[in-house]
Symmetry: D2
Subunit: 359 residues, 4 copies
């Protein structure tokens, strides 16, 4: 079951022409599982409908290509916010049933997907939510045929509250709950990965204890879903294919060295200018970076938390510069807010690379 990872461009969130062109390489009947990880160019605010629009458009395209049968085997994770030097694009993961594909020398990339049942508004941000994330991650591990030790990265989409809460008091709580939603999902994923103990997940630790965090989870939220959806990347011994996933970490949002270490660990070369030399082998890069609680970077004041622009936008734009200058490519899945996914101000990164120089 060799896995293919492709990038496709979008002229706007509803554009699926390049997606369809990439899909045309495959026989829909041979696709065991398909996943889309997409950055859309909406305003990342309450009235951003780019994710919903992209989701609906991608669903229509996949159905057109492979019918309802393929649609059922597909997983979608849309995230908006492409500030700075970032390209809105999609990352297409295809797992093809290919009996003739040779097993890899050692281990190779596999991915797994799972979706939870729908959550009610009251469940979001509670321990029920955390447990559902844990179970969904476990489901994705089963789907990928891996154990927790094989996992490199878990990408979790988690619902946030509907837009209009019933009372002002609730409004305050829901804001907290909105932050809680990601925190809870991160901790629930951490339990599935044996990085966080179930007993540590208590309402009073959500968004409060900076030492408590998962190490291989990136969590996204959005009001376009009311369920938990997981895309899990792992290297599995004996899997077919030439791809490999490598995880790394960033000390802060300026930590280009952390990114370089990840690429080196993945087998890439860094040239004298500090850039990845064999960038054509990198088929996917994902970064999640955050701000410190006071918005300071390297000890100095910034406007990350004190401007009319949401802090996540400052972070994504700055990191697009850092990563872009290292990788030389603007098609990277960069997102912000690392609550319970990294130490405060730090970040998590991952890349998928081709072992051989040419495909």
């Amino acid at each position: 079951m060799p896995v293919h990872v492709l990038s496709y461009d979008t002229a706007h969130p509803g554009d699926t022409s390049d997606l369809l062109q990439n899909l045309a390489r495959f026989d829909p009947l041979q696709i065991r599982r398909l996943a889309l990880l997409v950055k859309t160019d909406g305003n990342s605010d309450l009235n951003d409908f780019s994710r919903s629009y992209g989701l609906q458009s991608a669903g229509l395209a996949i159905e057109q290509f492979g019918g309802g049968v393929l649609l059922e085997r597909s997983t979608f994770l849309f995230s908006s916010g492409c500030e700075g030097a970032m390209t809105p694009f999609g990352q297409l993961f295809v797992d093809v049933a290919d009996a003739e594909a040779p097993a890899s020398h050692d281990s190779a990339l596999v991915f797994g997907c799972a979706r939870s049942r729908q959550l009610t508004g009251d469940e979001i941000g509670t321990l029920v939510h955390a447990d559902l994330v844990t179970q969904t991650v476990q489901g994705a591990m089963a789907d990928a045929g891996v154990t927790e030790a094989d996992v490199s990265l878990v990408i979790v989409k988690t619902p946030v509250m509907s837009r209009v809460p019933a009372t002002a008091r609730q409004a305050v709580n829901k804001r907290i709950t909105s932050a809680y939603s990601k925190a809870v999902a991160a901790l629930g994923a951490g339990v599935a990965l044996a990085e966080v103990e179930r007993a540590q997940i208590k309402p009073e630790t959500f968004d409060a204890d900076p030492t408590l965090h998962a190490r291989r989870a990136m969590v996204f939220s959005g009001n376009e879903v009311d369920y938990v959806e997981v895309l899990l990347l792992a290297n599995r011994a004996g899997a077919a294919g030439d791809l490999y996933v490598q995880t790394g970490s960033m000390r802060d949002l300026l930590d280009a060295s952390g990114l370089r270490r990840m690429f080196v660990a993945a087998g890439c070369r860094i040239n004298a200018d500090g850039e990845v030399e064999d960038g054509e082998r990198v088929v996917a890069t994902l970064v999640k970076a955050g701000a410190t609680s006071d918005g300071r970077v390297r000890g100095r004041r910034t406007t990350i938390k004190s401007s009319h622009i949401d802090m996540d936008k400052h972070v994504r734009a700055a990191v697009s510069g850092v990563l872009g200058s290292v990788l030389g490519d603007t098609r990277a899945f960069i997102s912000a807010n690392t609550v319970h996914q990294a130490p405060p101000g730090g970040g998590l990164c991952a890349c998928v690379v081709r072992r051989s120089a040419t495909e």
Copy 2:
């Protein structure tokens, strides 16, 4: 006349406490000339009053420190927009009359300042405006005691139109004129620096001919001034002091290598991680970067020119990441829009460094 270049922090645009502390090192009567180059944290939009507020506050502080006499010898250039990993701060340039200061081995940093007469609204964006910039740059060269060949960087503040034009038709023109204002100022500065021929400055080339640009000018605009103001940095043979200014260029906004080349040319060391190793010797860094006309970076679509966020904010934030990851410091004067100051999509950079390892 050794020149001192200091950085000071601000808690907000009206905060001058750290400026006053830095000024306290000097005897106001010995200050030949003083210049402030300040990044304020306003929203960089039509209702951004952070520059005006900072200007008024700094004027009050300087007057408090050195009276109206010192205020008359002072030059102020305020620019707003500190997106991403950028610290709002001020760069204080002080030229002290010190008979005992030894002449430098070779050349050392000097600066010169000049201000034009007030422009009328009708003059802004015209050849009159361009010629006034040329003359003001020449005045700053005379003030610094240098010729055009010595100049490393000319920082020009130029007025834009008042906020409410009289008619819809004018509104359209004034928007053009607003772009023209910077273009005109850049070309006017280019004439003074012998980089642009006076005959090339024609209305039809403003913002239209990408090959026509100054090479050592950074231009800022703002509705808080109705005159042209210039701060000029040069290395002058035999000047006293230990500081040196170095100019460089960036190919595009991700060009960390261009920044490293500038630091190396200024005598700094780059470590294995691609970072400036002796950053404590760097006393000032200035970058002006721009976007290509279609907003693409390395050939790929971005949202720089197609989002609710102004393109300059995307550029500043991304560059704050690129420079911050190279320099390891967030106190840098980063700005955007390089119309007629660099090739489209490219940038201009400069740094002031201390020759000796310790002050």
Copy 3:
């Protein structure tokens, strides 16, 4: 052929549940023509995809209800921007073939629709564009079976340029062209309505001559269409049905009296508090209001043209208060920018009312 005009709510731009419930009242085979006029709640900026998302969703809903046959008979005009006290909603126009419907005593509401061929980017903002609008309005008159004298209101959707122009110079032109697009469409509609002479449409009058404007046209633009689309409302003698359309005008954006005059002319009563007393008879209200060229209202400075918020948002929000306080309802189709559709600072309004007190 009695015409039905219904309002439906949306929980978000992709929500068609209430639309489908309203459609369920009709037999799709009996529908001669269907039109949707929808306000979506996007950010009204370059990265607002709410119109595209709403358009895609409504198309899917109509197809689900009446198949491709009904979809071909349907016209869609989406406009975003629901600032202030405005409800995002849709106005559904249905023209039902009903042989038994009695002819009205005098005249009754009819509507007509038409769509132009696709425009190329080069054509937008040119005389070709204006002529296409004229022809499309004429097509809509034919569709409604009316002559120019019967027409009460022409609603025109017109394309604007794609988001990323090729060069900086073009960027400037395209901004002009974007304003031109509406201006051109308004003047082209004015020709069809015998309000503007074809010879008056010259590039130099676009957005320049405030005395030149249509009197019964509301123009909307959006990058989700590359054709001109027209929905035309008229009262036709002998038409079946109980509905009537009335046009009015506003002197400026605070002109509640202008709105009251329109409602009175349409047969409504105004109570002692200045409110429409029989608002249940009003089935649709449309307002298009603009700002003066200097942004002043009643002679005083406002921030309509000098803030970080686009002028159209200021106008829509303020007018939502004026109309809402008169009509007592927040479901009204309020939009801004009246270039060549009204005198500068003035506005155009219309309402559809039921002649009898109960349906």
Copy 4:
């Protein structure tokens, strides 16, 4: 001691030319007390420095006019946000010592001012804060020489937290505290006015119990102050002068009738168009309006609480239309957020009118 209430225009927040012209009518030595109530045109966001800039500029102007002695007798309340059809302007209150001024027939406008000590960050949003507001309102009553029953309106400026809290957990709390700050101030003012019982002020009721609210208090917050400042308006029996203050209420933000009732109660005439006929007698109008907890208006969804634009901006802009269409003037002090100052969704309004038709 006749009180004068004048309006002055500003070209920008730092413009005091019209203020100085208005002040020139008075002898500074005769001024017992001076107050400025100013709307500035900043972006009303974390990086809005228009209030600070206006405050600094006004202080410099008053000092220039009347020296430090007059400055000490002056009170400043700056509020930003002039969305919609609102004019940025200042309302100047001057209490002149004039032995010859005849006592009024019945009662006439007086005002009183008071300022608290500085609050620490830890005190903001606590009962200490509430009690300080109570005491400051009592101080303003004493200053005006009135008892609680005479008071028509108390305008309270209250500090909010500094911009960068120390930890993420605090960030959440501080957001609550920021809402609490106004809530606490409103309730503290309510105690001084005998509208709220001291025992009812408990952390759990802040922003939670909608039935608990003051009836004559408008509260403003801003990070430009670290103390509580109060301007109190009252009608005092036997006071000199021709001015009178009248308070009213709005049922919701579209309630033009509530505004008309207030003007009628103040002795104004409403014409057949529902407009104030003798608007020249109205020297000041103040409105504070709020949104319901779910953002609905007249039962229908709006985007007030679900867009990229802060809800207060939606409210201010819509109310500027409602009031402007009734009063025919755009110089009104309109603000939003009525937490504990009115029932949810309702508003408080007040006007100062001249009893005689001509001054």
